[in-house]
Amino acid sequence: MRDLLRSGTGGGFVPPSSSDFELPPIFGDNAYTTKPIFLVFFSVILISVFFILASRKAAVVPSKLQFAGESVYGFVRNELAKDVIGHDFLRFVPYLFTLFTFILVNNVFGIVPLLQFPTMSRISFPYVLALTVYLVFHYVGIRKQGALKYFKEIMFMPGVPKAAYILITPLEILTFFVVRPLTLALRLFANMFAGHLLLLVFILGGEHLLQGVIGLKLISPFAFAVGIVLTFFEFMVQVLQAYIFTLLAALYIAGALADEH
């Protein structure tokens, strides 16, 4: 049994780990020319070119490209901004739209052949996105209600016995100012990281089994098959995470705009 399990090349299987995400720089010797950075710039170019082309020749009877662009825009505008924020939603549509398309394209890079690296599995990118959401919704809340009233509303909810504030107020502050933006970033990061790791396990595992004895070679197609099924599953997760990130950003903005929670 041990002989069967050992692979033909002699080397043991190295399970994929977090070091698989630390890619070397493509050229030069600095930390700024790695693959994720190029993917971010590429995604910006891709999104810009697509939507400029889609909206350039706007017609009443839309072309296919225009229809595709408009349905994405309409989805963000109606499903996310209008439903959640309510009236006065229009000035947040550009921000939410940028957020959604940026995260979506960068996530889907994880399963596009040749690129195959979800940019958001590097923690810094979700952190920055969550930071922008954080700044936007606090700024909007302070602007709308005044700083004092806004913070008072967060810290002291009405209709609670005075003694309970000792227990509750720290939790409200911590939730609003630390946990919310942190979980916003970490949810996106963890989903992309774990998804990419999962794909690596099955694809690299299948490839490793292929180098084993004949019995293991027969198992290897199953590993690849599971890897392909998981790729489609991963696509679903990537779209869903882009949606959830934008949805929660819109909900936080709506919460900051509303007079009472």
Partner: protein, 62 residues
């Protein structure tokens, strides 16, 4: 209108997490300071009950 539920679920998650972190952290600090062993557990219990109380206030009342 499933969006309200989505918001509520992540809010509940955030409240519970921050309750555990805050009061559990205080308990842990007391443990380190006084060389005891039970303040962490006490803090975690206080934090979780405070957070559930807060969830009840926010979402459980009619």
């Amino acid at each position: 209108m499933a969006k309200r539920e989505e918001n509520a679920m992540w809010s509940i998650f955030g409240y519970l997490l921050s309750g555990l972190l805050f009061w559990g952290g205080i308990g842990y600090g007391l443990d380190q300071w006084l060389n005891q062993g039970y303040f962490t557990l006490l803090g975690l219990l206080v934090g979780i009950s405070g957070a559930i109380y807060l969830v009840w206030l926010r979402f459980g009342r009619e």
